[in-house]
Amino acid sequence: MAIITKQKTADRPAPLSETSVLGWLQKNLFSSVFNTVLTLITIFIIYLTLSGVVVWGYLDATFVADKRRECYDNSLTGACWAGVIAWLDNIFYGRYPREEIWRIDFGGLLLVLWMLPLWLARVKGKILIGASVIIFYPFLAGYMFTGGDKGWFMQFMVAGAITAFIINMTNMLVGLLKNTSLDVFLMQLFGQADAGDKTQRNILLAMVAALFVVVFLWQASWNVTEVVWTKWGGLFLTLVISGIGIASSLPLGIFLALGRRSKLPVVRVLSTGFIEVFRSVPLITVLFMATTMFPLFMPEGFVLNKLVQVIIAVILFNACYMAEIVRAGLQAIPKGQFEGAHTIGLGYWGTMGLIIMPQALKHMIPNIVGNIIGLLKDTTLVSIIGLFDILGMLRSISKDVPWVGLHKEPLIFGAVLFFIICFSMSKYSRHLEVKLSAGDKH
């Protein structure tokens, strides 16, 4: 016999421990005498640490002062952020002339705007956008940062870069507003949507050429003043060195890895030798070699820009690590993939470019990003060979007469800055991994 009630029993509320903060506390932190004691001790330790940090770094700290003595007059024990604040321009831009700093900001803004469409789903033509960044942006940025007289080559590249940028931005707007790519939109606009491929292409080429000519004539009318590289510094220099290092060492690393796995003995031996030599010496040795020893072997009076030497050293050094990461990724690809590629008639570059690399690179993201973060932090070594990168600048504050001895605050500031940069990179890589491996979920 079953007892059936017609009325539904009222829902009971979830247990207190699941809904209220108090309940959660009771369940997780104060469930037994022992746990309660542990919790109290931990809270006390956290309080001690945090209160110390807050009192030192905020409550007792001095934010406005002209010299360190004034900080002391305010509080003998608090932090003296005033020194860091006074040096912010140096920390971010180095010795770059203050009235020209907008060029660095502008260069950075340009890069962000240029890359922005890559993150927007509605914008078409991502590969072209990516290629245009790699091909044109370095020249435009290089000119913005260096300045001086444009040679004919620079005029050409700067005009090309501005043209590419304008097209890119228009394409982004068209994509956002009309959800289509710029070329299709233009064809519709001129009623040529049904014209043959060849006609369409010719019209587009003519338009690009016309735009280029206009931009070329316009850019010939202005110059920015020259800023020699010795004035570069701070975070800007760190980002320039590591940016170029990252952008160049990845492709170079891919080629080295392919070379190391090549069936051609000369290529294989050279790649392996290169990787092993550069990987077996510390970065600082490579830097010293590049800046001190290299000039000894050169004809007298031949001076290669020290910054270029450093960048080359960083690229070569990191390419080796990248190569080994890429090689590891390649080895994780099952042999069947290679054989499959061969059976559909792909040659070596086809196999690598279309089948193997896309799969391998996806697996390598965590390692590559790890390496990139490492590179960013490694570039602070250049402060030892006399470039004033961000670390060099932070350490120089304690030698500036008004702030003599002020070294903790700058270094803490630097640590926070590095944490923000590295943590966002690591977060972004995590996001990329999830996005790219959407098809691999088991």
């Binding site: 360190r68 003595r69 002391y72 003998l76 006074a86 040096w87 321009d89 140096n90 180095g94 010795r95 770059y96 203050r98 020699v228 010795t230 004035k231 510094g233 010293f288 800046t291 001190t292 000039p295 000894l296 004809p299 007298e300 009076g301 001076v303 030892i384 060979i385 006399g386 004033f388 060099g392 600048m393 350490r395 120089s396 304690s398 030698k399 500036d400 007469v401 008004p402 003599v404 001895g405 070294h407 903790k408």
Partner: protein, 346 residues
């Protein structure tokens, strides 16, 4: 044996090749600098009073002023100058390999450096000496009372060696606590990690002024070492060495003659003192041997002032100075009992 002789031949050939390369480009340093359009002057990683960056990114300090004087002497413009900051491990190599034209960076003039490294030290622009800082409440008033003390010192310099020597000479059994960075050294001392700090006295005074309570500390009277800090150039180019040497002498001589940055124009046009007129190029031909313009010395004083002014600005009590008294020190003029003495400019 055969292999060895072969190796010797190769080495010799290489040596000839390299020396040949250097001889072939017999351009003097002055010509190189003039052709380049600016002077490359080497300093070190920032050091208070001598060469440091201000918050606007400009270099200043007494050694930077020497760089500026030489640039002014050559170009009549102290801004035609590239300051190179080079680590102390690389400093002499960077001078020897032609990267720097001139080294002006608190390098102590010692015999081995002068005779073995292929460089020449010139007229010192600052005489320093090593000393100790102690806490006043320790009751120590003489370095000889530091028996068994822990002394904080930065590593890799003559300072550390001098300390060991001093301890041995006086049987003090001092234990060295070494640091790479002077800030950490001073922090350790302030937190009680050692009983005394040792460094060059100028640096001690500069740092002490920035301790939380400077009055709690004391620099002991003893001086452990002689530290003549002098600019240096590559060995073998005498004309270039003369230019740098006489640029420093011009600073000292100007102070002796009472020529300052402010009155140099007046002095040149109205002075009756033949010494002043000769130095400032209003008469005579002191410049010809150097290969510079007639008003080279005038340009120096106009650009940076005389030695006393530079000292006051960066080492003394000036706005950017580290507050070390000059009177009675070795850096006073010889007429005031110091060592700053210029041969006559005539």
């Amino acid at each position: 044996m055969k292999l060895k002789s072969k190796l010797m031949t190769v080495t010799a050939a290489a040596a000839i090749l390299f020396s040949g390369a250097t001889i072939a480009s017999a351009e003097t340093t002055l010509e190189t600098v003039q052709a380049r359009g600016h002077l490359r002057c080497q300093v070190g990683p920032p050091s208070p009073g001598f060469y440091n960056l201000d918050s606007a990114g400009a270099w200043y300090g007494i050694d930077v002023a020497i760089c500026e004087s030489v640039a002014a002497a050559i170009f009549g413009d102290k801004t035609k100058l590239e300051i190179q900051s080079v680590s102390s491990q690389q400093r002499f190599t960077a001078l020897a390999n032609g990267d720097s034209d001139l080294l002006s960076r608190t390098a102590t003039w010692t015999m081995s450096r002068d005779t073995q490294l292929g460089i020449d030290f010139l007229q010192p622009n600052f005489y320093d000496g090593q000393g100790f800082t102690v806490r006043k409440d320790s009751g120590i008033t003489s370095a000889l009372e530091l028996k068994g003390a822990k002394v904080c010192v930065t590593t890799g310099t003559t300072t550390e060696l001098n300390l060991t020597d001093f301890s041995r000479q006086n049987d003090l059994n001092i234990s060295n606590v070494t640091f790479e960075d002077f800030n950490v050294r001073d922090d350790t001392y302030l937190n009680g990690g050692c009983d005394a700090v040792t460094a060059d006295k100028s640096a001690l005074a500069g740092n002490l002024a920035n301790f939380p309570v400077p009055a709690d500390h004391l620099i002991l009277p003893e001086t452990l070492s002689k530290e003549p800090l002098a600019p240096a150039v590559r060995h073998g180019d005498n004309q270039w060495a003369d230019i740098v040497r006489w640029s420093v002498y011009a600073l000292i001589n100007a102070e002796e003659l009472g020529i300052t940055q402010a009155n140099v124009d007046d002095m040149r046009s109205t002075s009756k003192d033949p010494n002043v007129l000769r130095m400032l190029g209003a008469e005579g031909d002191l410049n010809t041997g150097l290969g510079l313009d007639k008003d080279w010395a005038y340009n120096i004083i106009k650009a940076v002032g005389n030695y006393g002014e530079i000292y006051e600005a960066y080492i003394g009590g000036g706005e950017q100075g580290i507050g070390i008294n000059r009177a009675g020190s070795l850096n006073a003029l010889w007429t005031d009992g110091g060592l700053m003495y210029s041969p006559p400019m005539r």
